[in-house]
């Protein structure tokens, strides 16, 4: 019975999503066909056709999948390294007060500066190549994951920690059985925010200085006054951003089945 209702619920949701997206595209098409906007705004049919055509016809030097790969490589490398460093540092800061006292004030100075504001300095330091993009993605991810990992480690109930210690548990045991399970849901929400921030950062840094990638596509479209290229670029950015966020949610749902936050 329950399953049947759930199934129906899903049918309604997916059905309405399809209808909504179709209605949106039809509205867009109608605007371009029946009003003067069609003179400069391409319709959805044209945009989707162009999107697939660009899989073989290059933008600049590379076809669309290669641009996607340039951006994805930048985000994956910077994001992975930053997550690992930030989780370890965040937990250490949340567990040992001395580390907290040393790092926190410096972190508080850097935190309010939006990661995009580092772009000019990063270009001066690391050049216009991939190194500066890795640094920028690292920074964007690091800021958001560190805050969450820290809050997570701090959320461990001190009474539990005290009780475990009284019963003779050592630091490693307390970490494995209390601190880490408390911190994991926080860390995941940090990883989720970090991924969004990192994706925005990749696009921004490619828009400002690069020779390949999805951000490059839209900025070059702007330079050429090519609205079709803009729309294909935005569509690509949206699809990749959507897939990244959805896969992160999938991983979280799998790994954190035991928490209420991991839904």
């Amino acid at each position: 019975m329950m399953r049947k209702i759930l199934k129906n619920e899903w049918t309604v949701k997916i059905g309405s999503a399809v209808i909504a997206l179709a209605a949106f595209c039809m509205l867009w098409q109608a605007v371009t066909v029946f009003t003067g906007m069609g003179d400069f705004l391409p319709g959805p049919a044209e945009t989707f056709a162009e999107f697939f055509r660009r899989f073989v016809k290059p933008y600049g030097k590379a076809v669309l999948p290669m641009h996607m790969w340039s951006s994805l490589r930048r985000i994956l490398i910077g994001y992975t390294v930053a997550s690992a460093v930030a989780i370890v540092l965040g937990i250490v800061m949340g567990t040992y007060r001395i580390a907290d006292a040393i790092v926190m004030p410096l972190f508080n100075i850097i935190r309010p500066i939006p990661p995009v504001a580092w772009i000019p300095l990063a270009i001066l330091w690391f050049g216009i190549g991939d190194a500066s993009k890795y640094f920028l993605v690292f920074l964007a991810t690091f800021l958001s994951v560190l805050q969450n990992a820290y809050a997570g480690a701090r959320s461990a109930d001190p009474v539990l920690v005290g009780a475990a210690r009284m019963l003779g548990a050592n630091d490693g045991f307390i970490f494995r059985t209390i601190t880490l399970p408390c911190a994991v849901p926080y860390i995941f929400s940090g990883l989720q925010n970090g991924l969004t921030a990192a994706w925005g950062q990749v696009v921004a840094s490619e828009m400002i200085r690069s020779s390949a990638g999805v951000g490059w596509i839209i900025i070059r479209g702007m330079d050429n006054n090519d609205i079709l290229q803009e729309l294909v670029g935005i569509l690509t950015i949206g699809i990749i951003g959507f897939i990244l966020a959805a896969s992160m949610r999938g991983v979280e749902a799998k790994l954190c089945r035991w928490t209420t936050r991991g839904k």
């Binding site: 209808i19 997206l21 850097i110 925005g200 959507f242």
Partner: protein
């Protein structure tokens, strides 16, 4: 004892900041490990900071002029984002048809960083106030909608039943039960939106503009003046903190007697 150790950690924190600046000073001004075109020393940055209040070179505006220019655009886009975003989120949560139809479109749009709209808007609206304000609007819209939506959605059904038992109309239920329940979430959305609005204005100015703090640091990259860049970054961070602080005060005044999680 507790107080003593608090003091100890405060002292360590101060030492950490002082130590950081000392290492910076040591590496730049004394050991000369870096040059002025990669990383200037703290003294030089401080000097530039004071100088920049009155000096228009090298980018055609004083610090305060750039600041005002960025704030004006950011706050107008941000205000529009709140005015449209919060009611939209409430509508989406309250009326199921709106939810079913608007949400899929919205889910896709939110995967696009607000900044990605900037080039398209620049083509359509030109480089100027409008294209940037609309970019900020798009960036601020998403968190407002999402949080207002989540806030209304988490209204307890029991509260609704009570309202209905006492003969409340749908309208009263919305305004007397659902929206007050959602208020802490709505304020959280407004706070988050501020961060993304401020970030987007800096980014939009990096891409195309003729004034503003983002423009200032981008210009100074071209002419190798990292001292001005660092001043600009610190200023951006400082204004961001002040704005967050103001929103925090409003939030505490509006959301009375409720503890919310950040």
């Amino acid at each position: 004892m507790e107080k003593n150790s608090d003091l100890k950690f405060k002292v360590i924190s101060c030492c950490s900041v002082i130590g950081f600046i000392a290492v910076w000073y040591l590496c730049t001004d004394i050991l000369q490990l870096t040059t002025d075109i990669t990383l200037p020393g703290p003294v030089k940055v401080l000097h530039t900071f004071i100088d920049k209040f009155t000096n228009k070179s090298p980018d055609g505006g004083t610090l305060l002029q750039h600041m005002w220019s960025s704030l004006r655009v950011a706050l107008s886009g941000y205000a529009m984002g709140i005015i449209i975003g919060v009611p939209l989120g409430i509508l989406m949560a309250w009326y199921r048809p709106v939810d079913l139809l608007a949400r899929p479109v919205f889910d896709f749009v939110k995967a696009i960083p607000g900044l990605a709209w900037a080039p398209l808007l620049i083509i359509l609206l030109g480089i100027g106030f409008m294209s940037k304000a609309v970019t900020i609007f798009v960036a601020a819209l998403t968190p407002c909608v999402l949080n207002a939506y989540a806030g209304v959605k988490q209204t307890r059904e029991v509260h609704m039943w009570v309202a209905r038992t006492f003969g409340a109309t749908r309208r009263q239920m919305l305004f007397k039960v659902a929206i007050p329940t959602a208020l802490p979430h709505i304020m959280t959305g407004i706070r988050v939106a501020l961060g993304s609005a401020w970030m987007s204005i800096v980014a939009a100015e990096l891409i195309a503009s003729s004034s503003g703090l983002g423009y200032m640091i981008q210009q100074c990259r071209g002419i190798y003046r990292p001292d001005v860049i660092i001043v600009g970054m610190l200023m951006i961070g400082f204004i961001g903190s002040v704005l967050t602080w103001i929103i925090g005060i409003i939030e505490r005044a509006v959301v009375k007697g409720q503890t919310h999680d950040a």
